[in-house]
Subunit: 334 residues, 2 copies
C-alpha cells in the first residue's frame, strides 16, 4: 500500500476485514489527522453492531490474563473479537510498553482476533476520541465483540472505559493498601465485578469483602436497576470464565432493553460528541496558541507575565483570526 491511499478509500477494505487496511485506518485515527475526519465520520455511521466490553482494574489485578481467557471463550462460541488495549506509555518516547504481551503471541495467528495496543501518549488531548474511533473501526471490520482494556488509574483512562456497553472491573486478592484505595475509586463503574486469581487461598476474603462493600449500593438501588454480579475467576483452573460470559450476555440484553441501558447509550453519545468537539477545538487553536506563546515563555518564567493574561490575549487573537473570514462573509449577506 502506498502512503497516498486516502482514508476514505480504506473504508471498503476495512469493511472486508482486511488487516492491513484496518491497521492503517487505526493509525490515522490515532494521529488525529484532519484528512481522516470524513472517513471516521462515515465509519461512525456504519458502526453500532458490535458489543463493546470495557475491562479495567488496578495494576496487577490480572486484567490482561482475564481478557485473554474471555477472548478464547468468545472465540469458542464462534465470535470474532477485537481488543483495544490502552497502555500506559513512556512520556518521552511515546512507545506502548506492554506491546509484547504474552497473550498477543498466543492469539496472533488467529484471524478471528485483532489486537491493537494504543499508547496514551499517541493522541494527547484526544485519547478518548481516538480510542472510540478505533472501537468503531473494529466494529465495521466485523468483530462481534470489541474489548477495551485500560488500567484503572488516570482520569482519562477511567472515563474511556465507562464509554462501553458493559464495564467489567477486575479485583485481585493480596494487593497493597494504595492499590486497594485506587480500586475503591473504580468499583462503582462496574456492571460486572471479577475477582481474579481465585486459586489463591486469600481470594475468598476478597470476594466476601467486595460483596459486603456492594451491599449498601444494592439496598439503595431503584427498582429495575442492574445488580452487578461478583464473579470469581482463575486463569489456572478456568473457573468462572463461562459464568462471566453468561453475565456479559445478560447485561447485553439489559443494556439493549432497559430504560437505563438507553440512558447509558445516550450518555456515551454525548460523551463522544463532547470529546470530538474538544479535540477539534484544541486542534484548531492549541497549536496556534502554543506557537504564539513560545516567545513569551521567558517572561512567564521570570514571572513578569502570568499565564491567565497571556492565554486570554492569545486566545482572543486566535479567535478573531479564525472567524474573521466567516464574519466578513456574514456581513456581506446582512
Amino acid at each position: 500500500m502506498s502512503r497516498t491511499v486516502s482514508s476514505l478509500a480504506l473504508i471498503d477494505r476495512v469493511k472486508a476485514g482486511e488487516a492491513a487496511a484496518i491497521a492503517r485506518l487505526i493509525s490515522r485515527a490515532e494521529s488525529g489527522a484532519a484528512e481522516a475526519h470524513e472517513a471516521l465520520a462515515r465509519i461512525y455511521g456504519l458502526a453500532g453492531r458490535a458489543h463493546v466490553i470495557g475491562v479495567t482494574g488496578v495494576p496487577g489485578s490480572g486484567k490482561s490474563t482475564l481478557v485473554g481467557k474471555l477472548c478464547a471463550a468468545l472465540r469458542a462460541k464462534g465470535e470474532r473479537v477485537g481488543i483495544v488495549a490502552i497502555d500506559p506509555s513512556s512520556p518521552y518516547s511515546g512507545g506502548a510498553i506492554l506491546g509484547d504481551r504474552i497473550r498477543m503471541t498466543e492469539m496472533a495467528s488467529d484471524p478471528g482476533v485483532y489486537i491493537r495496543s494504543m499508547a496514551t501518549r499517541g493522541a494527547v488531548g484526544g485519547m478518548a476520541r481516538a480510542t472510540l474511533d478505533v472501537v468503531d473501526i473494529l466494529d465495521v471490520a466485523g468483530f462481534d465483540t470489541v474489548v477495551l482494556e485500560t488500567v484503572g488509574v488516570g482520569q482519562d483512562e477511567v472515563e474511556i472505559v465507562r464509554a462501553s456497553h458493559t464495564t467489567i472491573v477486575v479485583s485481585a486478592p493480596g494487593l497493597g493498601d494504595e492499590i486497594q484505595a485506587i480500586k475503591a475509586g473504580i468499583l462503582e463503574i462496574a456492571d460486572i465485578h471479577v475477582v481474579s486469581k481465585c486459586d489463591r487461598s486469600d481470594a475468598n476474603r476478597t470476594l466476601v469483602d467486595l460483596k459486603q462493600m456492594l451491599m449498601g449500593g444494592l439496598r439503595a438501588a431503584p427498582p429495575g436497576a442492574w445488580h452487578a454480579p461478583v464473579i470469581g475467576t482463575s486463569a489456572f483452573s478456568g473457573q468462572g470464565v463461562d459464568e462471566l460470559v453468561a453475565a456479559i450476555e445478560r447485561h447485553r440484553h439489559f443494556a439493549l432493553e432497559s430504560k437505563s441501558g438507553e440512558q447509558r447509550r445516550l450518555a456515551i453519545a454525548e460523551f463522544r460528541l463532547r470529546k470530538t468537539a474538544e479535540n477539534l477545538l484544541l486542534d484548531r487553536f492549541g497549536e496556534k496558541i502554543a506557537q504564539a506563546g513560545a516567545p513569551l515563555a521567558a517572561r512567564l518564567m521570570r514571572r513578569e507575565a502570568d499565564p491567565y493574561s497571556v492565554a486570554t490575549e492569545l486566545l482572543n487573537t486566535a479567535l478573531l483570526r479564525e472567524t474573521g473570514h466567516e464574519q466578513d462573509a456574514r456581513s456581506k449577506i446582512a
Copy 2:
C-alpha cells in the same frame, strides 16, 4: 469567613500564611471559577521562590511513605513544606479516596506543614492548570518546598509531575510484571531515582537492575548533563533519606545554574501557558457545545449523525457567536 469574600481579597491573607485563606483560594483554583482568574494571575506573579519537587511512582511503590519521611527531614532543617497529593478518585462521587492517609494525621498538628489532597475528578480538563495554581498558592504562602505527588499512571498525572523543578521516581522491589512495565514508562522522567523498601532482601536486585537499565542513557548523555542518582531508602531504618535530601539540594543548584535547568524552566512555563489556554478555551466553549449537542445525542446514538459533522457545526456556531461582538467592534474601527 462569608462566601462573598473575593478571591483577590484572600491574597494578603494567603501571603500571611493563614490556613483558612489558603484552603479557600485552593478550592477556588480547583473549581476553575472565572472569578478566581485575576487572583490566580496575581499569585503567579508573586510566586517563584519555592522549590517544587515532583514525586511519582507505580502504585504500591511507597511514594506516600517516602514523602512523609522527606517532609520530616526537611522540617528538621527548618523548612516549611507544602504537599499537594493528586489522588486517583472516584469517577462518580469525585471524592479523593486517599484523603485520610496515615501521614496526614501524623503531620496534621505541625503548622509548618500544609497537606492538600486533590481529586483528579475535581478539575476535569484542567487538572494540570489547577494543580500548578495550587503549588503557587503554597509558594506565596511561604512554604519553602512544595512536594507534588502523583501516581505514575495516566497521561495527565505523569505530565503534571514533570512540571516540577526536581522529579523523583520511586521504584520498589517485588512488584508484578504489569507494574514493572508501567515503571519502565516513567523512569526516564527522573532527576533522582529512589528504590524504596530497601530493608527487603530482594531490594538489592532492584537497585542493581535499575542501575544497569540506566547505564545506556548515561553513556549517551551530552557533557554537562545531569546524572540521575539511584538512592536506596527504607522507611523502617530511615536509610537513604539524608542522601535523598542532599541529592535534591544538588539538583536544585543544577536546575538554577545550568543551561538545561533553564531550558526545563522555560518548558514548564510553556506547558503552563498551554494548559491555561486549553482550560480557558474549553471553559468558554465546552459547556456551550455540550448544551447545544445534548438534543442531538439521540440521533448520534442511532448513528443517524456522526460526532465529527455535529461537533464541527456546533463549534463554528459557537465561534461565530463568541466573536461576533468583537468583530463588529473591529469593523467600526476599520
